[in-house]
């Protein structure tokens, strides 16, 4: 799941080397934290949060597959 977000984020930004994804696993819910270069923040959020929403939807599908719950947090 971490890998999924990492791949998408790295493909979207200008500075893929600055993409950091960490997964904090809870009992039922995992929190995926995504950190990107300051200039790239807009690229992973998108117009009216559309890109972030799309990433969350895809993450949701992946979680369903693994019968888990996960949330994506974009860290500033």
């Amino acid at each position: 799941m971490k890998d999924l977000i990492s791949y998408i984020a790295k493909s979207l930004v200008d500075k893929p080397e600055e993409v950091v994804v960490t997964e904090i696993e809870g009992e039922q819910t995992s929190v995926i934290e995504l950190k990107v270069a300051k200039e790239d923040l807009g690229k992973v959020i998108g117009k009216q949060g559309r890109t972030a929403r799309a990433m969350r939807t895809i993450l949701g599908a992946a979680s369903t597959k693994l019968k888990k719950r996960s949330v994506l947090e974009i860290i500033e």
């Binding site: 999924l4 998408i8 799309a54 597959k65």
Partner: protein
Amino acid sequence: MQTFEFEGRTTEEAIEQASRELNIPAEELEIDILEPGSAGIFGLVGGKKAKIKVTTEAQITPHEETETIEANHAESEPVETDSPDETELAFAKEVLENILSRIPVETTVHSQRVNGNIALNIRGDKSGLLIGRKGKTLDALQYIVNKIANKASEKKVRVVVDSEDYRKRQEESLVEMARDMGEKAKKTQKPVATDLLNPHERRIVHLALKPDEALNTKSKGDGLLKKVLIIPKK
């Protein structure tokens, strides 16, 4: 000599816009009014835009307002895209495969060029996981793949992602719904509104009813999702 067409809520507005965009005072323009426009009922439904034709002798370099014009056209006409080449086709396919393998799902992706777009079809998702409720997941995948493909490419490419013919089936049922609503509008002589639709869905509705001479269609609302009003012509 060149001719241009402009639209506005009133003819005055259309003329003003023409003069502004062409950078020529209104007095020097030769204007033909194509459609005078009308305010409709309470200025809400059934309003028609005024349309004018402008002819001028001068050499014109129109103002850079193409973006608004394109935005208006985007709904009724296909977006102008250059035909994608092999590299772009392969790249888009690879991006989608990379995402899918990380979900992970065991699917295959078929790629082909359709009307200057890249069509990617996912085969093997029997559960509908990749489609999601109302195609939400499919739309998300399509949006992300478009973003990534267009970042890599100089020209604009459009990628359509489908799974198990979901979009095709969806399109068929939308066309059917649009026709049913059109019949209702004609029978009752009252405008009928659809649910909130995204731009692609609205385009399907507009195109489905375009051949029907007795009906007008118009989008109504703000934001990405709008309703389509199906209006019987008086």
